[in-house]
């Protein structure tokens, strides 16, 4: 088992959707970075991501890693949030046949995976259709 620090250091992003907005050009980085990919500025302020957005593209994973075995098959997609930030996330509580690009979704706090022999539960965001 890895040092649990690897898990909890991501909590601000996975639980609270904390991102970094460049105070120079306004670009939002998620996860936060130390240097802005747009303007190379190193000054940021913490912002919270919007919880609503739309699906840009999606797939249904039918052969998944072992830590997702209890969820397979599951939908995963790239979602563009209303602040323009794009994230990779599972699409929960959906009918696979009704998934479509452009579908509006909302982020919710969910269990993501069961990790390792001890079955440690890891949490974070998933999106659900609205």
């Amino acid at each position: 088992m890895a040092n649990p620090a690897r898990y909890w250091r991501e909590i601000p992003q996975r639980y609270r959707l904390e991102a970094a907005r460049c105070t120079s050009c306004g670009e939002i980085s998620f996860p936060p970075r130390l240097i802005c990919p747009q303007c190379r500025s190193r000054k940021f302020e913490t912002v919270t991501l919007k919880e609503n957005g739309k699906i840009l593209t999606y797939t249904v994973t039918r052969v998944g890693p072992s830590q997702f075995a209890d969820q397979t098959p599951y939908a995963v997609g790239v979602v563009e949030l209303d602040d323009g930030v794009r994230i990779m996330t599972q699409i929960a509580d959906c009918d696979f046949d009704k998934l479509a690009a452009g579908q509006r979704v909302r982020l919710e706090f969910r269990r993501i995976q069961k990790q390792g022999d001890a079955g440690l539960l890891w949490y974070g965001y998933k999106c659900v259709p609205v």
Binding site: T57, V63, V76, T89
Partner: protein, 386 residues
Amino acid sequence: MRDVAILGVGMNKKWGELWDMSLRDVFVEAALNAVDDAGVDHLDSMYVGCMTSGLFVGQEHVGCLMADYLSTTPIPATRVESACASGGAAFRQGFIEVASGISDYVLVGGVEKMTDVSGDEATSALSAAADMEYEAYHGITFPGLYALMARVHMERYGTTSQQLAHVAVKNHKHGAMNPEAQYPFEVTVEDVLGSVMVADPLHILDCSPITDGAAAVVLCPLDTARKISKKPVVQVLASAQASGTIALHSRKDMAWIKSTNQAASKAYKMAGKGPQDIQVAEVHDCFTIAEIMVLEALALVERGKGGQAAESGMTALGGKIPVNTSGGLKAKGHPVGATGVAQVIEIIRQLRGEAGPRQVKGARIGLTQNMGGTGGSSVVHIFGAV
């Protein structure tokens, strides 16, 4: 900078599930074949492309391991890792070392031993080429990532599942002529579309396999090759590499492999050639959609028309620009660290006129494109018969 040539090439007798061969045996067999083909009695340096021997067999420090078992100590031996572009990136390091004048004879090999772990574990190991915290954490796999790209391409350009299947059909047809290939047999469009779905819209026959294998080449200065080579001499005309974002979702356009386009632009400029000059190409078809998008990024096919290229026969042997005459990653196999070097070998054989039944007649200029992750790393090389 000195001009650089390829003096020798070597592969395993066959790629696939090599149960009776260890990581080191797989590599050394291919490397010895390359040394024999080159006809050299010593090497000055070596590079080993390898993606994740640590996760596949628990072995790191493979540069040293391979120098030891190839009996080339004490020459410098360095592992190069850029995910599935490890082989191409290793080749580029060898090229740079010979071009710089630091070494005369450099062996570049690539290797991966993937079948010592279960399919699940192999999928997880390969996922390490993605962003572990913000992609893999959410359960996306590599077939899944390329499926996400495929859907964007299909919705924007009208690319169809049938067109994707035609890439697999073509590459298996080529691979059936390659005795080294893991899957040297043909498949039909119906086979592909009827095979099990892995990540919609990609079927299992849209995916390259899990493979044990190695490939190796020996590089030397062009002037030396002209004097000592017993084979037709092939020169490295260009070497270029580019990086993009590691996460697919960070790309503005998920249906465009920008790093491949950027590496190709640099390579065409360095070689003084354009896409119209390329007569044969080996490209990174880890999934059928990948070949389609890569050909567009290389400007070998018009943007958005990659699907039609496979369907029309344009990229098949006998077509305007034959692509993946070796069978590609799809049929030849995809031992991730070896792939980039094996692509070079197919082009060398084509330009030497040694490709047998899959020979592209009169080929003088060829190209390789090797890619890591979803295009976070791209390596492009251009070769010319001298």
